[in-house]
């Protein structure tokens, strides 16, 4: 396919985005920020999927649009995850009066 931007750029972009997401999940203390970092990781995967779909060979045996379908499914699932995640964060906030994942530590061992 004649395209100006090579596939590897998309892949590098997605990998960098994914790394940013992982670093965010590990370092952030605020549960909402952790939630956002998880969303960044899912978006990185979506970039990969769409790029592979655009540049990949068309295979008849799985239908040519698997990547797009999967990306749409991921967006849907991500929305459901956020809805659930915000609910859980609010529940924890009410119990502790704090938005800090390090303080939610009533269980250990």
């Amino acid at each position: 396919m004649g395209s100006d931007i090579p596939l590897s750029w998309f892949l590098l972009f997605a990998a960098a985005t994914f790394a940013i997401g992982i670093i965010g999940v590990i370092t952030r203390k605020n549960p909402i920020a952790v939630l956002m970092a998880i969303e960044i990781m899912l978006s990185a995967a979506n970039v990969n999927l769409v790029a592979f779909w655009r540049y990949g060979p068309e295979r008849l045996d799985s239908g040519p649009i698997a990547g797009i379908v999967l990306a749409i499914m991921v967006i849907t699932v991500a929305a459901a995850e956020v809805a659930v995640g915000i609910g859980l964060v609010i529940l924890c906030y009410r119990r502790w009066q704090a938005a800090d994942v390090d303080r939610y530590d009533s269980m250990a061992g």
Binding site: N48, L49, F52, D61, A66, L70, E81, L88
Partner: protein, 621 residues
Amino acid sequence: MPTVGPSTLDFRDFFFVAPEMLLAVWGLVVLLLDLWLARRLDPAARRLWVGRVALAGTGLAFAVALAVGLVPLMARAYPEDAGSWLSKSTLDYLFDTDPSLFSGTLAGDLQVGAFDLLYIVLLGLIVGLSRAWSFTEEWGEFLALLFWATVGMMLLSAAEELITLFVALETMTICLYLATALEKTRRRSAEAGLKYFIYGSVSSALFLFGLSYVYGLTGTTHLSAIRRLLVEAQQSGLTANAAGATAVLLILAGFGFKIAAVPFHQWAPDAYEGAPAPAAAWIATGSKIASLIAFMKVFANALEPWASPDSNVLRPGWIGIVAVVAAVTMTYGNLAALRQRNFKRMLAYSSIAHGGYLLVGVIAVGLAADVSRAAGAVLFYLVVYAFANLGAFAAAAWLARDKESDQIDDLNGLGRKQPLLAICITLLMLSLIGIPPLGGFFGKLYVFMEALDERTASRGSISLVWLVGLALLNSVVSAFYYVRVLRAMFLREPAGKPMAAADRLIALPILLSTAVVVGAGLTPDLLMGVMQAAAAPMLTTPIVVHKLTAPTPVGPPAPKKPTPAFQYSADQMKKMGQMATGGAGPPGGGGPAPKAKAGTKSATPKSKAQAPASKKAENRP
């Protein structure tokens, strides 16, 4: 097999997902009836009433799943009579050659049927357990979430395609996050829910990112097509790349979270301890079974070409990595369980350790010459493990109801107050250790024998002796913490408030689990036969039991229409040939390799009765 060209939707496929649809709709029914009719009742009556509605739903789903399983079997057994009670188009459909549902995204084989029934039975027991005491006020929500999680599990163990697999995985876990957090009176339930959510969704993202690389490398999401393309690519040397290695590691990390393997296990103890006992039981049993089946399907079917050490993508193959993870998982789980005083937390670490043993079984599946036997061993282990754990969580629910605590010390003196149930719990604990006459022993025996068997298999360069030795050592270590429960029940004086008698909601799961565990121990061949027959279609290309080309009762059926589904590599063909000539194969299977392949592939999933017989034939020296 993936369809070629524009896929068409066959509405008759819905027949095979009827149990899933029923459970999904019944979740809504429970939710709405709870809001509409039950809100005026007082909390305890509301709990019992909504619970009864939910139990009716599981009963109905059981009947439907049984019918879905039996109708094809009956039609196949009596093809002449079937015309009188089935319409022509249904008959055509049942004997159709296209083996999978919804253009190859779901399997409808014996494994799916058997495990649907298992999930529904476990769900019924867990719904019953939820009725035993009031740990939340949102009964409609809690039970509906359990139902929808079950739908996710059933689809997850049926998925033959990565998009379906991902969506089913998320359906299951999102419902379980919420069910974990629904014990509103306790702070730690919310904490457990949030921790489970964060770890779980990070793992989903890792899994998805790995999946995107697999899609990029192969251009398809169907498991069997991925396998075929990887085999082809391996011959052209295309798989020696970093993307493949990254994909394997990321997918492994994603599944590792779901089955709580060690570098990714941190959520499990907190989630089990904080969740209400029925939700914890569902995480420990149903979610683990479904994740492991999906794990086997992805790794031992789709990524099988990357399994072995001689693949050139990852030097040790994924088997080497999984072996290290398994070793660390079982050792860490057992050592950490030793210092637990909390019963549910102890069960969490014990379930991590059992995840390690199960990974040994998955390695055996990846290496095995006879995939159905090795996968059957893993499924056997899963069933026995699930029931033993369910019984243990019923005991935890009993503790939570009467003592509002999870400490092992609160079981003190139970042996004198409730001798029958205490003996049942003893049997469950002994089965989890793996004491000989019980089901847990045979689960471990089969899995470890399969792992050891691989030394003689064709890919001899990995020796699993060290892994099995470590697993045996770990089983000994595990005895110490399980025995602590027995010591509390039988050797200590009861202290504090005595536990009230268990009503049938708590007694039934314990008794039934004990019956299954003891039964599996007394007649392991029976369960193993079913599990092998179930495993046979699972890890090959979807060759489906209930849709044979023609009802031929004896002899290897004629090869199906020339199938482009996937090609075996040369050494696999050789292996199949050896297997067929080794005694268990169909008569005349010693011919050229392609013929042997057709024979073994279609003969193994034939019937429940055949599998034990062929196993005996193999065991005979």
